[in-house]
Symmetry: C5
Subunit: 93 residues, 5 copies
């Protein structure tokens, strides 16, 4: 899984019927210091994440498991809202 | 999932029989500001996407689910047409 | 899926028994203008692709589906031979 | 699989119920000389790994197998604690 | 699949019980000219590959199929030993 920040939403009227009701959140991957890394992805919210929140997202089949929608074309979903990230900086060197 | 733009098509007569009838769309990945990022991929259209449209595509097993063709060798498919992308720019910093 | 060009073959006598009879093609990923991008991969041919041909390859479980060998350790396969790639250049800007 | 070092933890109260009890470890990928490469990921501990330990982690469906939680939205898990890495340097040239 | 060279081993006493007996080989990805590309990975040997040998490795579910251990947390395995790589250099330009 990865840490990310919810930075926006995608609105799509014409879509796969199994995505109906899914909130498509634009999610910015973050490093362990909460700095942006790489490009945003679209993840389906499964835990009530709001704009600006730091979250954990998962990819692949795990994303459909998290969304409890095994028959939906989902490859990324938000599965936790982060309270705290504890990193031991000296271990990163 | 990712945001992309349909920029072309691939024509292939000799192909896996389970790809018959699939529209192979050349899709350019976009960032949340709709700027191109990285190289194009080929995604199967499942929602009637046309050339130039901004779409959401999905990868892996999710792509076969979206195409409703679990027995086809598909690893990317277009599953939504984007009406709007709402990004909170200040959150990206 | 991605566009690629078959640029060689791998010969391997000692291998997984479920790869017996599989043609292991060295495949160079291409962008939509047929220029090489990134490093070559090994994909199993499933459509009679020859050296120098432009093809579509797929990855992951889709590759085993394309090869019709769900019990083989295949993670990439060639599933179509490209007749034509139509790209609208102005859409890429 | 990849070699990594456990450098921290993520605390998340609101999360997928199938993540309850999972320890979310911030894991720094390492090269074979134990130097950091790329960005940290979040992997679920399955072998009692502690902060600072060198581990082997796995991704995708393998991660859920390692965690023995096929119904949890896990896409990375720690499956071994490294005693030793033996690399033949001259082979890397 | 990809071409790689076995450059070392990982020793791990504390590990997932389904990894017992698996040889964890440090494998350096190679391009089609057998030059190193990118960082090493850990792949489970399934064909008796030795240190220094050029191999084909596979990733994801294919790796568990190759290892014949669908219940092990394996995401990469060595499935062939390379006798020869035939590349048509002029096709790479």
């Amino acid at each position: 899984m990865h840490i990310g920040k919810v930075v926006g939403t995608v609105v799509a009227t014409r879509k796969d019927e199994n995505l109906t009701g899914c909130k498509l959140m634009i999610t910015q991957p973050l490093d362990s210091f909460k700095k942006p890394i790489g490009d945003t992805i679209i993840a389906v919210d499964t835990v009530g994440a709001g704009i600006g929140e730091i979250v954990v997202y998962t990819k692949g089949t795990a994303a459909r498991i998290g969304a409890n929608r095994l028959d939906a074309p989902i490859d990324a979903s938000i599965v936790a809202i982060v309270d705290n990230v504890d990193v031991y900086n000296d271990l990163l060197e």
